[in-house]
Structure formats: structure tokens, C-alpha cells
């Protein structure tokens, strides 16, 4: 059963098409890796799911709810982290999460739980503007994870983290579906990272979905198309390169 589905989802800014006729199918309880080079349209797609930007064409459903009529109800079920950490610098990490908790109407212990999940308990009383980049990233993640929502939308969540932090967050994301019956849509431009945590992947380039399926299906599809399959990074690069050539560019 698909918890997120899009039908011909399109977003244009003037002459520029950021997302073109996208048809995504995200299974409930899976980690879906959304892969693509910078500017492929990953963040725009995620922003549309969260109502931060309006689709130009097409539609999408999240857990049976339709945008825009069920926007508030969708947001109650989705924890998100988009592009950069978003917080109030004049408040402590704990106070930031307390605001989110109040808005979501969650019990008080959710703040401690979220801080613990991302390893920020020790720094809970520190002002968020005094956090290091990695700590800000973790605070952003805590804001998405608070209350353990059934759907998580994470846009490049490991940016700015050190290797240990990347490993911790990756392990956490990987464990979420089993632990909390959660569906995760996570974007990255690093195939190696997605490979380690995703059940399904979607590859996006210039707003077009080049591939959707499991890692095994990607290998089969790549082999059939004559792309290298020894190394998934090479497969990804070859797919993107071929698509760029087909569109008449080399970006």
C-alpha cells in the first residue's frame, strides 16, 4: 500500500520546470531514497508535499489525504526537515522543541524523547544559535522526529554532520520503520548514503523521474540499458549523464 502517491506532479517557475509530471509511489513502512544531483527537483517536490510551494499541475495524496484541502491534517502526520535547520536562535534547543510540542499537542515527555533520539540531551539548555552546524542539524531532525510521526520527509538530513553523526543518523533513519512503523522519504545526492538506508529509490534529474524501484530492480534495469552495474555510483552517474545528453546538455 502506498502512503504517498503523486500524479503528474509539476512545478514550474516562469520558463523553468523544476519538477515535471512526477509519478512517485512510496510504500507504507519503507525508507524511500530520493536521489538526484543538485537542482534535480528533490527539494521542490518535498516542499510541495509540505505545502511550502504550490504545484503548478498534478496532484498528490498523503495517507489518503489530498492537498490542498487536507493540508493541516497532512501536516499533523508529517515530520519534516527541509534544506537547512529551521529554529529560533534566541531559544534553547529544548525551548524550540517545546514550541513544536505545544503546536502538535503532544505529551511533555516527547521533548526529552526527541532530544535523546538525536543525542542532544546534554546540550538541551544551550541557545540554538550557539549550536555547532552539526548540532543545529540534529535539532532540525529532533523537530521532525518529535512525537514520532507516521511519515517523515527529510531533505539531505546528514549535511553538515561529521562521519560519526552521519552514521548515527543513518542508523536511526534505517531503524525507524521497524521501531515506530514509520515511512521515511529521504533525499540525498549521495548514492552510497541512500544505498545504505533505503528500501526503494527514486532517481530524479532535471525534474524527471528516471527510475523508481528497489536497489535490485535498479541493477537489473541498468544492466538492461547497458549501464555499468559493478558500482552503484557509476550506475547513477551513467544514468544522469545519459539523460543529460538526451536533453542536449552536459550538466
Amino acid at each position: 500500500m502506498n502512503i504517498i502517491e503523486t500524479q503528474d506532479l509539476t512545478k514550474t517557475y516562469g520558463d523553468f520546470t523544476a519538477v515535471s509530471h512526477l509519478n512517485l509511489h512510496i510504500r507504507k513502512g519503507s525508507v524511500y531514497g530520493f536521489l538526484g544531483p543538485n537542482g534535480a527537483g528533490k527539494s521542490t517536490t518535498m516542499k510541495m508535499f509540505l505545502g511550502l510551494t504550490q504545484p503548478t499541475e498534478g496532484r498528490f495524496h498523503i495517507d489518503g489525504k489530498t492537498y490542498p484541502s487536507d493540508r493541516v491534517s497532512i501536516l499533523k502526520e508529517v515530520g519534516s526537515f527541509i534544506e537547512a535547520p529551521a529554529f529560533y536562535g534566541n531559544l534553547t534547543g529544548e525551548e524550540n522543541l517545546e514550541i513544536i510540542r505545544k503546536i502538535l499537542g503532544l505529551p511533555k515527555n516527547c521533548v526529552d524523547d526527541a532530544l535523546k533520539l538525536v543525542g542532544l540531551t546534554e546540550f538541551r539548555k544551550r541557545l540554538a544559535r550557539k549550536y555547532s552546524l552539526g548540532m543545529k542539524q540534529r535539532l532540525g531532525l529532533a523537530g521532525a522526529l518529535i512525537g514520532r510521526p507516521p511519515i517523515l520527509i527529510l531533505d539531505e538530513p546528514t549535511n553538515g554532520l561529521d562521519p560519526v553523526g552521519i552514521h548515527e543518523i543513518r542508523t536511526l533513519i534505517r531503524s525507524l520503520p521497524q521501531k515506530y512503523d514509520c515511512t521515511v522519504l529521504v533525499s540525498s545526492h549521495l548514492l552510497a548514503e541512500v544505498e545504505l538506508m533505503a528500501d526503494d529509490i527514486g532517481i530524479l534529474n532535471h525534474g524527471h523521474l528516471l527510475f523508481e524501484g528497489t536497489m535490485e530492480e535498479l541493477k537489473i534495469s541498468a544492466r538492461a540499458a547497458g549501464f555499468p552495474t559493478d558500482n552503484l555510483e557509476d550506475t547513477f552517474l551513467a544514468m544522469i549523464d545519459e539523460d543529460n545528453h538526451r536533453r542536449g546538455g552536459t550538466v
Partner: protein, 239 residues
């Protein structure tokens, strides 16, 4: 709920101290004025509160307006500085409720400022005018009037601040409005935000314009509030 959340967001921004300091600073004006000009003032006939208001309110109102402008800028600066606003946009909370929560806080702190100022005016009247008889109804009416005619300015300034991600832009727009409208004093312009707060109840009553001021300021406040709600909807469409 919105009020509680919005007030929490203002922690450590210096918002409340700024308003209290502004209130006390504005309240110092009549005291200093009376210390310097008590002999000229005490020989004048009329209600001491009205005399004091006529002599000091222009300066006090300007301070109230400037503090309200700074307050609105501070409120939205905390939203935009570290992307807090973006986080709020992905939570199940209506942006309009956030805005009206901020407006309510701004109105409350402004009311505290005006109350402080009125209390000092009453103190001055009692100290320098021995024949002054304290009339609570009159003071409440005056305080209420001065607060209501400030509301369009507070609301419009919040609308401007919500639209500008850069605090200095909204601050600049506010200051330009203050000085532009204060150098064109005429009957029609005095009904507009940034100009209406200079009006005094006693003068408005003399000219039979107190009801007009209250009605126009009430309408302006509602209109700017509706404009903000429409703006928030439109902004979503163009993002």
C-alpha cells in the same frame, strides 16, 4: 494557544524590556516638562490632564509609534533570522493565527505603555495642579481612546514586518511612514496609521471627531488584518 506560543518566541529578544523602557521614557517627558514649565502651565485654565496631554502627547505618541515599529521588526526578525518561520509553515498551525497572536501581544504591551504614561500624567496633575480632581472614568476613556487610535499603526507595521525578511527594510519603511505622515498634518491624513496616534481625545471631542476616529481606526485595523490574511494566502501561491 497562539498567544502563549508567540510570547514564548519572544524570550531573550529584549522585546518586553524595550516596551517598558519606551513607556518609562515617554512618561519622563511630562515630568521634565512640568519641572521646567510649571509656572506657565499652572496658570492656564482647563482640565490639567488635557493641558498636560496637549503639551506632551505629540512627543509621547511619537515614542509609542517608534517603539511599536521596533517591536514589530523584532517579532518578525526572530521568525526570519534562523528560519523559524519555515518550521512554523510545516506545522499544523495557521499563519494567520500566528499573526494575530503577535498583534495581540503588541497591543497588550502597547496598552501597558499607555497605562504607564497615563499614570504619570495623573501623577503630574496631582503634584502640580492642587485643584485637580481625579476622575477615573475620564482617565479610562482617554487611555482607551489613545490605545484604539494606535491599533492601525500596530497592525500595519506588523503587516509590513511580516512581508520583509530583512528587518532593516521593514524598520526603514516604518520610519519613513512616521516622518512622512508627521510633516503633512491635515484633517484627512490624521485618520491614517502613523498619524492618528498623535490625536488627543479632548481635542477630538471638541471637534466632534472622537467617534469618527474610533470608527475609522477600528475599520483600518480590521482591513489591515484581512489584508494580511489575503497576503499570506497569495504568498503561498507564489512561493
Amino acid at each position: 494557544m497562539s498567544l502563549l506560543i508567540e510570547s514564548k518566541k519572544l524570550k531573550r529578544t529584549g522585546y518586553l524590556p524595550a516596551f517598558l523602557a519606551g513607556g518609562f521614557l515617554a512618561a519622563v517627558f511630562p515630568v521634565v516638562y512640568m519641572m521646567v514649565k510649571s509656572e506657565e502651565m499652572t496658570v492656564l485654565s482647563g482640565n490639567p490632564i488635557n493641558l498636560l496631554m496637549a503639551a506632551n502627547w505629540q512627543m509621547m505618541a511619537m515614542l509609542n509609534i517608534l517603539i511599536s515599529i521596533c517591536g514589530a521588526c523584532m517579532m518578525y526578525h526572530t521568525e526570519y533570522a534562523d528560519n523559524g518561520m519555515q518550521k512554523m509553515s510545516v506545522l499544523p498551525i495557521r499563519q494567520g493565527n500566528m499573526f494575530f497572536g503577535k498583534f495581540l501581544i503588541a497591543t497588550l504591551v502597547l496598552s501597558i505603555m499607555v497605562v504607564i504614561e497615563m499614570a504619570v500624567l495623573v501623577g503630574c496633575a496631582k503634584y502640580w495642579f492642587p485643584n485637580y480632581v481625579f476622575d477615573l472614568t475620564e482617565i479610562l476613556k482617554t487611555t482607551g481612546f489613545q490605545i484604539v487610535i494606535m491599533l492601525p499603526t500596530v497592525m500595519l507595521m506588523l503587516v509590513i514586518a511580516s512581508a520583509c525578511k530583512n528587518m532593516w527594510v521593514s524598520l526603514g519603511i516604518g520610519v519613513i511612514f512616521v516622518f512622512t505622515l508627521s510633516i503633512f498634518p491635515n484633517d484627512v491624513l490624521s485618520l491614517f496609521p502613523f498619524a492618528s496616534p498623535y490625536q488627543i481625545l479632548s481635542v477630538a471631542m471638541e471637534n466632534s471627531r472622537s467617534t469618527l476616529f474610533l470608527a475609522v481606526c477600528g475599520i483600518e485595523t480590521v482591513v489591515f488584518g484581512i489584508a494580511e490574511v489575503l497576503y499570506l494566502k497569495l504568498r503561498r501561491c507564489f512561493e
